[in-house]
């Protein structure tokens, strides 16, 4: 291959013009209404992750999706916020344009009013040193510090070189550096005694106006000066050195931040300067999407690596320059870029429907675009593929008209057409002296032999699986891979062609790449990316694409597989098995990558031809691997804010909790997914996109609320925020209460027992007494009874005596009576037998008289005598009867 003449030949700059069309995406934010400008003077990210903006319209807090404005007391109303700081307790402090310092307290901005009064000029910076001493600097009123409840002022008397202080900085030894108009005052406060040392031109400072002081890394301190640019100062050797190698011509510096190897510098005259320390290059972004970047007051690099710019009229954020958008500069021109290649002078060759162009970036960020192939017969030929060979020649594949080899400087063009099997060049690749082209009629290998190009054509007849080849790729072992339309992948090595298609759902393969481990990856139509392993295509589960329609595929030297699709760029780190995504948040919107229109420069930066312009992707410019950071913002109990961190114990009736959580992911705040779980309550993690959850009627217990956040639906590496609290049981369900109740029970049982015991004892005693009494009584009775018995016995004896006596008496009487009865019987016998016979003879004589005639007087005397004799008979008879009766009775 011919060497390019070393003498630079004057370019054919027929259509050259300057442009600033190469910028990363700057997202604009509007704390107030969209058209209401806000002057942002101070930026701060607190330890939780919130961003704070000190503005001319007050203080704002931002979480990525919404702004919260904090209102000030009347005394502060009219004064802008010019400085912000966070103390060790996480409180936000504000400095104002009238010299006042205030603090955010419970959502209100309240003035800090030390007894000594306040400063009289605008506060330029506030700093809490490692011991907790508050320092604040003013614009023309010196330096102040607050120690042991007293405010002290540092001025010329203490050796301060100037009262106008721009910035404060604490070095590794705890000294406070103040950047002034007359050098740096290094203040050290030891045992309440302040000493000031001045660093100025006598110490080698190239400029004494020091506007910003920040850590540069490697023990160096960066000084932003008025006229000498950015100076790095080594506090050990006390050496000052300009950071940018060349003479500084960007004017004064308002602020700067360090983002890995880059320094982002705000220059009022030029805009935002990005200086790469690794490659010693600076570029300037003066405006983006119509936003002027000249008026940056302050810069902040947040924990995700975003660069925030506080402007005089608003606020912008950029994720960095990993992605830069090249807008095709000419209005109305076709900006659909079909092919891109980077030549050896880092110029970007690109082809649109209008022709072939070269974009040349100047040192200062400006760009000149030159049209190529003008005044040749190919001026209107559609270029659809580009390749730069190791010699520096640019190869341009035409659509139907073959292949051009263009000298990058003198524009000499060689045309190949007849040598090729087909003139539709879809892709060009190469290695060393070999150039491969993929066409719609097979592939052609072009080699330079003895100063002449030799062509070898391959078609399906030679072993290619298809004649329609989207891409040709030469791997590190010199094997040539062909991505075919419908027939998988063909590979040509020393042994000939090999075919691979097993495992591919679609046999249409767009692109083949090789990773740093020498593995082959392909993109298949609508089915994403496959790894070729042991002759088969396999899906890698960790490789999760947001879109399977991959338009362009690339791999870098660090093991990344980079896929371009319509939603942005997906990068898979083969070694870490991690995905990273870039999309709309980086400004990739309304533009889609064109098929295989991607090219890599020598720094590993990718350039992709898009339907609108060119997109530059530089992974090395985005080394910050950030993940969304979850935080628990607020916990409310029945709608009332409570500070759970300091009071994690809730009462039993404070069991209706609303937990507000969020994820900090400033570059794509709306795309967050959350998983949360209340340990001891929820059984599983719960997926949501909400930023709050309410738990009602939580039973008493210990709880830990955990929330994870991810910008994808994969939570494997997601960070977690937790908050622990407990709901106390009501007093009647506490252990203590149980103990008390038990104790009471025991005590009362004991008391009852005791009482019973005592009463029993008492009863026993009473009973005993009674028993004794009774016993006594009984004894008494017994005795009585005994006495009675004895008496009775005595009586019985007596009775017996009496009876005996009676019997004797009865015997006596009976004997007497028997004697009387004998007498009576004798009497009766006499009566019956001796008395009755005379009476019966009288009665016979009376009856004989009655028969003799008797005179009347003698008759009456006989009658009377008969009557009297009858009466005497009756009496004798009755006596007889009575005696007979008695005989019968007693006999």
């Amino acid at each position: 291959m011919k060497r390019i003449p070393s003498v630079l030949i004057v370019l054919l700059c027929l259509a050259g013009f300057l442009s600033n069309g190469q910028t990363p995406y700057f997202q604009q934010y509007h704390p107030l209404r969209r058209n209401q400008p806000v002057q942002v003077n101070a930026l701060l990210q607190d330890t939780t992750g919130f961003l704070w903006f000190g503005t001319d319209q007050g203080l704002f807090r931002f979480d990525g999706s919404s702004f919260r404005q904090f209102h000030m007391r009347d005394s502060l109303q009219a004064h802008q916020i010019t400085a912000l700081a966070e103390d060790s307790l996480g409180r936000i402090w504000l400095g104002h344009s009238n010299g006042l310092v205030s603090r955010l307290d419970d959502g209100m901005i309240v003035p800090f009013e030390p007894r000594e009064g306040s400063a009289v000029e605008a506060v330029s910076d506030i700093l809490f040193d490692r011991r907790g001493v508050m320092w604040f600097s003013t614009r023309n009123d010196g330096l102040y510090y607050y120690l042991n409840d007293r405010l002290y002022r540092v001025d010329e008397a203490e050796g301060l070189p100037d009262l106008f202080i721009y910035d404060l900085f604490e070095d590794g030894d705890g000294n406070i550096w103040a950047g002034t108009d007359r050098g740096i005052a290094v203040c050290s406060l030891v045992d309440g005694k302040l000493t000031v040392r001045v660093i100025d031109s006598d110490d080698g400072l190239p400029d004494i106006i020091v506007r910003k002081i920040k850590q540069l890394g490697d023990g160096l301190i960066g000084l932003a000066t008025e006229d000498a640019g950015l100076v790095s100062y080594n506090p050990q050797t006390e050496e000052a050195k300009a950071v940018l190698g060349s003479a500084w011509d960007f004017g004064s510096i308002n602020d700067f931040v360090v983002k890995e190897q880059q320094l982002w510098i705000a220059s009022p005259r030029r805009g935002l300067i990005v200086y790469d320390r690794d490659i010693d290059r600076a570029k300037v972004y003066s405006q983006s999407q119509g936003i002027s970047l000249h008026s940056i007051n302050t810069l902040l690099r947040d924990s995700e690596g975003n660069i925030w710019s506080g402007l005089k009229t608003g606020l912008v954020r950029t994720l960095g320059d990993a992605i830069e958008h090249f807008d095709i500069p000419r209005a109305g021109s076709d900006n659909n870029v079909l092919a891109v290649a980077i030549d050896h002078r880092e110029r970007i060759w690109y082809a649109t429907g209008e022709g072939l162009f070269v974009w040349e970036v100047g040192n200062r960020g400006s760009a000149a675009v030159t049209r190529k192939l003008q005044h040749t017969r190919f001026s209107n030929a559609p270029v659809i593929s580009l390749y730069v060979d190791p010699e520096g020649y640019v190869w341009a594949g035409l659509y139907g008209d073959g292949l051009l080899r263009i000298h990058p400087d003198n524009n000499e063009v060689i045309h190949f057409d007849k040598e090729l099997r087909n003139g539709n060049i879809l892709s060009i690749a190469g290695r060393g002296d070999t150039v491969w082209v993929a066409t719609l009629g097979g592939s052609t290998c072009i080699t330079l032999e003895n100063g002449k190009y030799r062509f070898r054509n391959f078609s399906s007849a030679d072993g290619l699986s298809s004649d329609f080849i989207y891409q040709v790729f030469v791997d590190s072992e010199g094997r040539t891979w062909f991505a075919t339309d419908g027939k998988g992948v063909s590979m040509l090595d020393a042994n000939g062609f090999h075919h691979y298609e097993e495992g591919l759902p679609s046999r249409v393969v767009y692109s083949v790449v090789e990773d740093s481990n020498h593995d082959i990856w392909v993109s298949s139509q609508d089915h994403g990316i496959f790894l070729l392993r042991d002759g088969q295509f396999v899906k890698v589960p960790e490789l999760r694409l947001r879109d399977n329609t991959i338009q362009a595929l690339s791999a870098d030297a660090h093991g990344n597989i980079i896929a371009f699709h319509n939603f942005g760029i997906d990068v898979y780190d083969v070694n870490r098995q991690q995905m990273r995504y870039w999309g709309e948040e980086s400004g990739i919107r309304d533009k889609e990558p064109n098929l295989n229109a991607v090219s890599v420069d020598r720094f590993g930066q990718l350039f992709a031809g898009m339907t609108r312009g060119i997109l530059k992707f530089s992974l090395s410019n985005d080394r910050t691997i950030a993940r969304p950071q979850p935080a628990i913002d607020e916990v409310r109990v029945y709608g009332q804010h409570i500070d759970l961190e300091h009071m994690p114990r809730l009462k039993y009736n404070e069991n209706n909790l609303t937990i507000h959580y969020l994820g900090f992911w400033y570059h794509s705040a709306s795309n967050l997914n959350y998983l949360y779980k209340l340990e001891n309550y929820d059984l599983e993690w719960i997926a949501t996109r909400n930023r709050e959850v309410t738990y009602s009627r939580l039973p008493p217990g210990d709880y830990t609320f955990k929330v994870k956040v991810s910008d994808t639906d994969n939570f494997a590496d997601a960070r977690e925020a937790t908050i622990t609290f407990s709901i106390q049981p009501p007093f009647w369900r506490t252990g203590a209460f149980y103990v008390v109740v038990f104790a009471l029970f025991v005590i009362s049982a004991y008391a009852i027992m005791k009482y019973r015991e005592r009463s029993l004892l008492r009863d026993k005693l009473i009973l005993e007494a009674k028993v004794e009494e009774r016993t006594r009584e009984i004894q008494q009775k017994t005795e009585e009874i005994q006495a009675q018995n004895e008496e009775i016995m005595a009586q019985a004896e007596e009775i017996q005596g009496i009876n005996e006596n009676l019997e004797m008496l009865v015997k006596q009487r009976t004997e007497e009576l028997e004697k009387k009865n004998k007498a009576l019987e004798e009497y009766a016998f006499i009566n019956a037998h001796k008395l009755r016979s005379p009476v019966a003879s009288i009665l016979g004589l009376v009856n004989l008289l009655a028969k003799a005639d008797q005179k009347d007087d003698t008759k009456a005397i006989r009658e009377h005598l008969k009557q009297s004799a009858d009466k005497l008979d009756d009496v004798v008879r009755s006596i007889q009867k009575a005696i007979e009766k008695a005989d019968n009775k007693y006999l």
């Binding site: 000594e116 009064g117 614009r139 002022r153 008397a157 108009d181």
Partner: protein, 190 residues
């Protein structure tokens, strides 16, 4: 280290003590004898220039403090009388804010009583259109036998001073106005 209020009162007493004899000794200040201030608006469609010689100013070599002011209505030039009228009435509102001022101190510790040429940076408040901005302006100062020649060029962004340009004329008026200032001053007792 003393608390601030004690310190302040102490300091003012000290200043009073030292400043009286100092003021008596070094009363001489540089005052403008001849000056020219011109400005240029180099817009896409129109170039406008105007100048004034009615500049007043003092530089105190003992403190290196300075003050300059210019009567805006005395600017002459412009491309038309109407333009001048617009300058005074619409943009600068010269009736309301008749003068533009710049006062402050010289940052570099130069001795302006000693002959020589000095590149200095003047820092102060630039007051235009009633809006003050802290500015650092580079100047070249030549001191020769009690005279001081001053040359300076700087830019004034209109937005800094709340001067708004209607969109319709935005291509005729630059957003940054270039100002060139030259003055001869002599040491005078005041």
């Amino acid at each position: 280290m003393m608390p601030r209020n004690t310190l302040c009162s102490f300091f003012s007493a000290f200043l009073l003590l030292v400043s009286v004899p100092f003021a008596l000794q070094a009363q001489k200040k540089y005052a403008v004898t001849r000056a020219n201030m011109s400005f240029t608006s180099n817009a896409e469609l129109e170039l406008i220039t105007a100048a004034s010689e009615k500049v007043q100013g003092l530089v105190d070599p003992s403190t290196n403090q300075f003050a300059f002011s210019v009567d805006l209505k005395t600017f002459q030039g412009f491309n038309s009388a109407l333009q001048r009228e617009h300058f005074n009435e619409k943009y600068m509102e010269s009736d309301k804010y008749p003068r533009a001022r710049f006062s402050g101190k010289i940052i570099e510790p130069v001795d302006l009583t000693v002959d020589g040429t000095y590149e200095v940076r003047a820092k102060g408040e630039l007051d235009i259109h009633g809006k003050k901005q802290t500015r650092i302006i580079k100047s070249k100062v030549t001191v020769h036998h009690g005279t001081l020649d001053l040359e300076s060029r700087f830019f004034v962004p209109l937005a800094d001073h709340n001067i708004s340009i209607p969109t319709i004329v935005s291509q005729k008026i630059a957003t940054e106005i270039e100002v060139e200032f030259k003055a001869s001053m002599s040491l005078q007792s005041l």
